[in-house]
């Protein structure tokens, strides 16, 4: 019989947890979300020495006093789920701050093993760390590793299985001054006598109470013994105590470090030298913009041939299927509904894979934190974090991967606002609509009009962010306390795994929503309207007044009439939710000119539409409900239909409002008549 255990990988951000996780589990990993939230949860399996281990890669955390959602998840997992073994991954080049978490994990009394990672970098830096002494001091196993190369993994796993069969008596390595110890002891007695606290190690809980940990105090308040606890807490000034606890933890760490290692502080690190250039006052922004441009180009230009291939392939597949299937409605369902639907899911894959490959390189190398450092001032003006900048810029290429990229934003509210405003970044798929309409109606000024549309999108995003910050998502700005990790050489393997995971998640989670949306629209365009004599899914009725969608268009006509749109535009906009660029094609079909864009622009400018209505239509296309793929990822990344529908309603109302003002005010003032 093999034993089954859970092993949690904990540690500060950027210390190599995921690298070690990948080295342990190989391809046997599963990525999903933590229940109820959209923080990544990675679980993998590995059998070692006849023990079946379930390995959990926890989000990075600096302390067990949790601030961000990531940290709350990591802490709650350790405290509530009680994994059999906790492996803390430590960055050997940054021992002092990394060990701060160790002190707390030890107080918690978990079965702890330390993976002393990045030992290659420590060695190169000239640091000398005596593992054996460290192990003696801490009374927990210490194993050196090099996560990115997979060195030391077997030893680490041996340590895990060895530890299982040892009954452990952890002494209190970390002790505090008499005042704190005295109070911790008094609290311990109270906590031990109340079954409510039985789930928690009492010394740790007591210390957390003394530190003034808000979460822990809240938990404490629910117990009957809280009045007694309160008396002890009231005896001292919580603020002073909190500083003292942190201070004394660091003092013990320093004492230990003096005994176990020799750290070379003399020379300027390579990282510091890179930063002199990369975050330089004059060069920082140009370098950042160049890298952004390069990432953008690689993602969106590089992806184009692949997207074309996918497009051609699915076009061919649809056609082949349509001709092969003899029942006409079935042929249309398979061809125009299902295959086109699957195609519209897959078409985003090149963008997503490439963007996440680039982002992973930036994140793993340590540059992402610099990007946030450089852009933070600008983003803080709209109440956001520097980390919001990159997803927003990527939105100009495609909103879908951009929204998926908001995961690097720690604060839940900042992340939510960024997701909600990203669709206002005018993506590549909206450009064909502008090109056609601006070309037809504004001739030589087309360029200016298109520029104004992009600018309007940014303006709407900025104002919306400010508005949301001061109304529905009110609250203090999250404090900005960000580590700038030292630069590392990212590994291709790590970036490929990351890229592949994002692609898989997209296909699995957003794919269904997109597919349902696309097939739904096909059904609406294929089912004959009540009273129509057309046959289901025949070419003759597809998307016309004879179909359901045409009928809906006509019902909607009074709503869009004040914008200068007729029912055909309403239908084209409905189709546009499948993918924005479809607006153009649908208009062509509806105006009876087929897919020929030139005849469409002729027919439009010849009087089917006024220039003001055309301008309104472009603005409408910019702001209204994003495409199904985008809706799918908004749902996936916010984890909430409520916020997804909010985005749709908000965007569409804005679109309507802008188009209304443009058309009505413009007409009244006799503009562009």
């Amino acid at each position: 019989m093999t034993e089954k255990i859970t092993v949690a990988l904990a540690g500060n951000p950027n210390v190599g947890k995921t690298s070690i996780f990948n080295a342990i589990t190989g391809s046997k990993q599963h990525v999903g979300n933590w229940p109820g939230v959209t923080v990544e949860r990675k679980i993998g399996k590995r059998v070692h020495n006849d023990v079946m281990m379930e390995i959990v890669d926890l989000p990075g955390t600096y302390s067990l006093t949790a601030y961000s959602l990531d940290e709350i998840i990591a802490r709650d997992f350790i405290i509530e789920e009680k994994p059999d073994v906790v492996v803390q991954v430590i960055d050997a080049t940054n021992l002092e701050r990394n060990l701060y978490l160790t002190t707390q994990l030890m107080e918690l009394g978990v079965r702890l093993i330390i993976a002393l990672n990045m030992t290659d970098l420590a060695l190169a830096k000239g640091d000398n760390i005596d593992e054996t002494k460290m192990q003696e001091f801490l009374e927990v196993p210490v194993v050196s590793t090099i996560g990115s190369k997979g060195n030391g993994i077997e030893g680490l796993l041996d340590a895990v299985t060895n530890e299982l069969h040892r009954t452990r008596v952890t002494g209190n390595v970390f002790t505090y001054d008499d005042e704190i110890e005295d109070k911790a002891e008094k609290l311990r007695v109270i906590l031990d006598s109340d079954p409510y606290f039985a789930h928690y190690p009492s010394r740790w809980f007591g210390l957390k109470l003394l530190e003034g940990d808000e979460n822990i105090i809240k938990k404490g308040k629910e117990s009957d013994s809280f009045p007694k606890i309160q008396i002890i807490l009231n005896e001292t000034d919580a603020d002073i105590l909190e500083a003292k606890v942190a201070d004394q933890r660091y003092k013990t760490i320093q004492t230990m470090l003096r005994q176990v290692c020799n750290i070379n502080t003399s020379h300027l690190s390579g990282s510091d030298m890179v930063d002199r250039v990369v975050t330089n006052k004059a060069l920082g922004i140009p370098i950042f913009l160049s890298l952004m441009w390069a990432a953008f180009e690689v993602t969106f230009t590089f992806a184009t041939p692949f997207m074309n291939m996918i497009d051609i392939f699915f076009g061919w597949l649809a056609e082949t299927a349509t001709t092969a299937i003899l029942v006409p409605w079935l042929a249309s369902l398979v061809g125009e509904g299902m295959i086109a639907g699957v195609g519209s899911v897959i078409i985003f894959l090149p963008n997503i894979l490439l963007l996440f490959f680039m982002l992973s390189l930036m994140e793993d190398s340590g540059y992402m934190a610099r990007a946030a450092f450089i852009m933070d001032k600008l983003m803080s003006k709209i109440g956001l974090h520097g980390r919001s900048f990159i997803p927003l810029v990527m939105g100009f290429g495609c909103n879908v991967p951009a929204i998926m990229a908001t995961r690097t934003i720690e604060d839940t509210r900042d992340r939510l606002i960024t997701i909600l405003i990203t669709p206002f970044m005018s993506c590549g798929a909206r450009l064909p609509v502008y090109v056609l309409l601006a070309g037809a109606f504004f001739g030589r000024d087309a360029g200016v009009v298109i520029f104004i549309l992009y600018a309007l999108g940014i303006l709407v995003a900025v104002v919306s962010a400010k508005l949301m910050r001061s109304t529905i998502l009110k609250g203090e700005d999250a404090p900005f306390i960000m580590e700038l990790p030292s630069y590392k050489v990212p590994t291709l393997k790590g970036s490929f795994i990351h890229m592949w995971e994002r692609g898989k998640i997209y296909l699995k989670k957003a794919g269904t929503i997109i597919l349902i949306g696309v097939v739904g629209v096909w059904l609406l365009a294929s089912i004959p309207a009540p009273g129509s004599s057309g046959t289901f899914a025949s070419q003759e009725i597809y998307g016309t007044t004879e179909s359901m969608i045409g009928m809906i268009g006509q019902i909607l006509e009074p709503l869009v009439a004040p914008l200068g749109f007729d029912w055909k535009i309403a239908v084209a906009l409905l189709f546009g939710v499948v993918a924005k660029e479809i607006v153009v094609g649908s208009m062509g079909v509806l105006y009876g000119v087929g897919e020929n864009e030139e005849s469409l622009s002729n027919i439009l400018s010849a009087g089917s539409m006024t220039p003001l209505a055309a301008l309104g239509l472009m603005v409408f296309t910019l702001l209204y409900a994003p495409c199904f793929a985008c809706i799918g990822v908004i749902k996936r990344e916010t984890g909430s239909w409520k916020w997804t529908l909010f985005q749709l309603a908000y965007g569409t109302s804005l679109a309507w409002g802008f188009a209304f003002v443009i058309y009505q005010a413009g007409t009244r003032m006799g503009l562009m008549a």
Partner: protein
């Protein structure tokens, strides 16, 4: 005493933390990150747009917005 707020300190200056004030949650985090009283902090640089500011302490680099740095009282080391 010449206590100053950390956001006032020019780059290339070394200081010693005296006290962390400010809102409970950010104060706790700042302490956890190692800005405990007595810790030596080197002010490295301001971001190109003037904010946030980068510091070096305990062998690693940390950035704070001026708003957070303002809550850290320090003493300049000669």
């Amino acid at each position: 005493m010449n206590e100053k707020k950390l956001d006032f300190i020019e780059p290339d200056t070394s200081v010693k933390v005296v006290k962390v004030t400010g809102q409970k949650s950010s104060r706790k985090r700042i302490l956890d990150m190692g800005l405990t009283p007595g810790t030596r902090v080197d002010v490295i640089r301001r971001a190109p747009l003037g904010d946030p500011v980068e510091f070096k302490l305990k062998g690693y680099n940390l950035s704070l917005r001026k708003r957070e740095a303002e809550t850290v009282l320090v003493e300049v080391l000669k």
